[in-house]
Symmetry: C2
Subunit: 210 residues, 2 copies
DNA sequence: ACCCAGATATTTACATTGTCAAGACTCCTC
DNA sequence: GAGGAGTCTTGACAATGTAAATATCTGGGT
């Protein structure tokens, strides 16, 4: 009879089982509630049911944990990008699909998303972070480039890509209200999904024109 | 013989002279150095040469001081908007002028700018904040609306305005690196001024098309 | 000239946080 | 079933934000 270790409540054991995962989850939850600034290492430890110094062993410091969460978020974004464009051939349709995927991640993973763009809280020089965030960006740039190649050879690809990235990022930022109540310039009450379609349409009209 | 109060070094006096202004200045400086997260009320007080509790009397708490700085920033933005469009009649030229003014403020007032968009650190329900940030936004929306009226009656003004705001904001965000070293998706080495011109061109092409 | 009320700044105090170092516990391997 | 690596806790320290009590200055009325 082996002891039913795996069925025992994690709280009763000295070793947590999968503390890193629990800490990531608690972080995401906390950030979604209080915003990236309301994050606290000790509160995360509290929610995971461990002592305040436990996270250090797995993630180093506060920045390390948040960076790990940011990497998770960008990984999800890359996956969503890939899923959204599989089988889609027309470059314009692909670009629209990327936009929708971006919004989807921003909406369904508010905690991750807020951390991903809190550049002051994470280590943007982290290798894994650079790799995965760069991959997401390159996916977008490549698709914009395809649009140009297909519809408008004279398009400044670099400028168009930056514009697209800025627009979709700015939109997500304006829409992503974590922690604090509601904010200033009013995001309007138009839902995000519809918004991204409008953006795609407007941007693509500009891109396709020669 | 009146005592030369006004000529004495401020440090020797119990009363500071204009502490609110000194605290705002110290805040802007500190944020420009260490980013909005590196901000600390005690450090600001230290730089202003007063005790750590002095700011409370003028700004309430930490959030109050940052909110005041954000209001200053948006006020400067509104002023820059007004200055940039005086005498400019064509709606498209006006819109481009607004974009340049925005970038100018973002570039020349990094500290203010970082605080303006740190929604988690300021009180976005503050009346003065809502007034002045709303005014800036309305200025932009109105101009986009004028573009539509002049060149394309069928343009969805609301969508176009949000896109413009998102784009210019996203760009400024990606470009505005306070505190931390350098960041991820690489803003490229194209300078901001040129970038905003490219954006204007691309966006306006899309807007003008029917 | 004097004094006092209100504004301004300091001092003291306390709870919270991030990080470090030292110790306790557990699990796996030999 | 002992040892060692990995995991978690405990205790401590400096820094921070905020509140309350105290000290100092300023300006105006008498």
């Amino acid at each position: 009879m082996s002891t039913a270790r795996t069925n025992e409540p994690a709280t009763s054991r000295y070793h947590h089982g999968d503390l890193p995962a629990a800490l990531r989850a608690a972080t995401v939850e906390l950030v979604a509630e209080r915003g990236p600034v309301g994050f606290s290492l000790r509160e995360v430890a509290r929610r995971a049911g461990v002592s305040h110094a436990a996270p250090a062993h797995h993630f180093g410091d506060s920045r390390g944990l948040l960076t790990a969460v940011a990497v998770d978020g960008f990984t999800m974004l890359c996956d969503a990008f890939d899923r959204s464009t599989v089988g889609v051939l027309d470059p314009m349709d692909r670009l629209t699909a990327l936009g929708k995927a971006y919004v989807e991640v921003a909406t369904n993973h508010v905690g991750h998303f807020a951390v991903m763009w809190s550049e002051n809280l994470i280590d943007t020089t982290d290798e894994r972070f650079k790799e995965v965030s760069g991959r997401a960006y390159r996916n977008l740039v490549g698709t914009v480039s395809d649009v140009a190649r297909a519809h408008n050879p004279e398009l400044d690809v670099d400028a168009a890509a930056t514009l697209t990235w800025s627009a979709v990022h700015g939109l997500a930022m304006l829409h992503c209200k974590t922690g604090t109540a509601d904010s200033a310039p009013s995001n309007g009450d138009v839902d995000l999904q519809r918004r991204i379609e409008q953006f795609s349409s407007l941007l693509l009209q500009g891109f396709a024109q020669r």
